[in-house]
């Protein structure tokens, strides 16, 4: 059973040095209240797994500005100049991953797979350090699964068992990350009773969700 709690209590589970996954794409679909609570708490030396670092004044971008990350694993940092500045200054380690590969690595982490073969990135810097495997005369990169200590997600609706739905393009990485972390914390726009969601329309089954907080803003 997922437990309903507050933003402040929820982020107490995140300790210095942990790896966190945060849903969202340029902040759309990110759990903004949880992020603000983390900014306030000042948790540091975190590793971030996220699509991007958003903008300096938005979503995980605020945590970049607040220097809470020692490493980030993302597909794109172009919208947040502070990320690039910290990277160049040697203050932040940045691992850039092709977006489809990042999504699939997170999925593999949640699905108990040891990795997957993708053609993406062949002949580019994305090859570096990766094993190449040939299958039926075609070459692929072996990409490895990725998991986090904590996933921070935004849902549109959560029922009290933790079943989730997402809205529009705010879905993005959220359902994948829900499967791939030891602790899954969801900020939900709306919390409903058990039975209020049609079981066909649940996008993340509640069995993987640990904590739910009502949306902050």
């Amino acid at each position: 059973m997922a437990k309903i709690t507050t933003l402040e209590e929820a982020v107490c589970n995140i300790k210095d040095g942990m790896t966190i996954m945060v849903g969202g794409f340029l902040g759309v679909g990110s759990p903004l209240g949880l992020i603000d609570a983390l900014v306030k708490k000042g948790t540091k030396d975190l590793t971030l797994i996220c699509n991007d670092t958003a903008f300096p004044d938005r979503a995980v971008g605020k945590m970049v500005v607040n220097k809470q990350f020692k490493k980030i694993i993302v597909t794109h940092i172009g919208t947040n100049p502070e990320t690039g500045r910290q990277m160049k200054a040697g203050e932040l380690e940045v691992e850039l991953v092709p977006q489809g590969t990042l999504a699939e690595r997170i999925r593999a982490g949640g699905a108990g797979l040891g990795g997957f073969l993708t053609p993406t990135g062949l002949g580019t810097l994305a090859e570096n350090g990766k094993k190449k495997i040939e299958v039926n005369g075609k070459t692929y990169l072996l990409e490895l699964p990725i998991r986090a200590d904590v996933a921070l997600l935004r849902a549109a609706i959560a029922d009290k068992k933790g079943n989730l739905t997402y809205r529009r393009a705010a879905r993005n990485f959220n359902p994948l990350m829900a499967m791939a972390a030891d602790l899954v914390i969801v900020e939900a726009d709306k919390i409903v009773e058990i039975g209020d969601l049609d079981p066909d329309q649940v996008m993340t089954p509640g069995v993987v969700v640990d904590l739910i907080v009502p949306r902050a803003m």
């Binding site: 092709p98 489809g100 062949l122 997402y166 529009r168 393009a169």
Partner: protein, 217 residues
Amino acid sequence: MDKKEVIARRIARILKDGDVVNLGIGLPTMVANYIPEGVEVKLQSENGFVGLGPAPAPDAIDPDIVNAGGSPVTVLPGGAFFDSATSFALIRGGHVDVTVLGALEVDGHGNLANWMIPGKLIPGMGGAMDLVTGAKKVIVATEHTTKDGASKILKQCRLPLTGAGVVDLIVTEMAVMEVTPDGLVLREVAPGVTVEQVKAATEADLIIPPDVKVMEV
């Protein structure tokens, strides 16, 4: 007519009714404005949907409906949202007919570089590496030369690649060029532009067939 408009208009006429198309941010996005009457393409947005529609009126913005650049858009009737893994399953799995991307450099071997300039600009590859790998047809939309007048159509890309041997067609304000096993073939020149002018502005070797057409825009 503005250079970018020439490029966008020409590419729009390549798209066929029913095509699933992913348009990159910037110039490629403009292609959507010029799709001929009677041709319906389905725009895919790598942040998680098909059926991307035009920008909404300012008072009708839905913060959860944005394109891959984070700009407000709409969803057309018959659209569908999905998570990032599904989005890239569509892209990598060959379910996207055409992708249109910008370039920092492109070359006669079909190599494309558009995600970083070492030591200067490192925005990240986002979904570009997957798009050039997975889409059935890869069209590069780029001005023919840099602001300094240097050719962007090179013998061999010098910047880190987004994809190796992935480009099918290059469309600039001067020319349409096709990447073939024999090399880069000049297919069309813009109205008022001569073959010699294109050759002079192109670092890559161009194969000039007898039937070079004049670009319709």
